[in-house]
């Protein structure tokens, strides 16, 4: 039995679907951010699997994943700063309460 590329892409698809579900249904800002991390992680896994199976002599997918991880870290830090600021102003982190910037 061999582990082909689909063995890595199928878990990635299912993880992405979980992320979409959480992104739509969660009400808390930090929980939404957690779902976002799931989706980013699924995309990273795709990059690495395609790189390893289609172009084993090159490193483009790996380098893209490295940059994606760095950018995800920056994005998470800024998002958490914004969430803490919202918590100071509004008093909780429920998305239904954060309507000041809606229109």
């Amino acid at each position: 039995m061999d582990l082909g590329i689909l063995w890595y892409l199928v878990p990635s698809v299912l993880m992405f679907a979980c992320g979409v579900y959480g992104f739509v249904t969660r009400k808390n800002l930090i929980a939404i951010l957690i779902s976002l991390e799931l989706m980013l992680n699924a995309a990273d896994l795709n990059f690495v699997a395609f790189n390893r199976y289609l172009f084993p002599g090159m490193m483009e997918g790996m380098v893209f994943t490295l940059f994606a991880i760095a950018i995800a870290a920056a994005e998470t830090a800024i998002a958490i700063a914004i969430i803490i600021n919202i918590y100071r102003v509004v008093g909780n982190t429920d998305i239904n309460e954060v309507t000041k910037m809606k229109f």
């Binding site: 992405f16 992320g19 579900y21 930090i30 957690i34 779902s35 992680n41 199976y53 870290a73």
Partner: protein, 176 residues
């Protein structure tokens, strides 16, 4: 042909990854959701190790499990009182979420399994070819030189982005 131990490890990691992803988006308590996310990230790191990218797996553990998760736990503890049950993360729009994610997953899986096999012998679903070992020297040269397929400019752009992120984080989150 993969060894039996490799396949057993694959199944353990894949099943734990799927179970913990589902739990991370359905758990009622947000601190538990963050912990389940940590397990998903560690399983992904094991996949990277299994595919032969040791440096990437180490980066995944160090940056995600070490950095981002600590940020998550800090912010959860800053914005939630442990004894407060009213601020739960109860789900809403559950039907839309289930429909959207199942439709999306079905579409993606259909696209994956109807994927055409590449002309020269089915490398897309074929076995893993032995790639060269990726040494730290190769990674360093790829990230820090300017030839074709080398990435000095994006590397510097990421460093500027991180600087902007530090300043932005301080400015956004400071007390007025």
């Amino acid at each position: 042909m993969d060894s039996v131990g490799n396949i057993i490890l694959y199944f353990i990691v894949a099943i734990s990854m799927l179970v913990f992803s589902v739990m991370a988006v359905t758990s009622k308590k947000i601190l538990r959701a963050a912990t389940y996310l940590l397990f998903v990230l560690l399983s992904t790191a094991v996949f990277y190790f299994q595919l032969g990218y040791q440096f990437l797996g180490a980066v995944q553990i160090a940056v995600y499990a070490g950095g981002i998760m600590v940020l998550f736990v800090f912010s959860i503890l800053l914005t939630h009182r442990p004894d407060d049950t009213s601020g739960s993360i109860e789900s809403h729009r559950r039907v839309a979420g289930v429909c959207g994610s199942i439709l999306g997953a079905a579409l993606l899986l259909f696209a994956l399994f109807s994927m055409p096999v590449t002309p020269e012998g089915g490398s897309l679903i074929g076995v893993l070819q032995a790639g060269p070992d990726i040494t730290m020297k190769m990674i360093g040269e790829t990230l820090l030189s300017t030839e074709k397929y080398h990435y000095l400019l994006p590397f510097e752009a990421v460093s500027v982005l991180l600087l902007a992120c530090i300043i932005g984080g301080v400015v956004v989150a400071r007390k007025r």
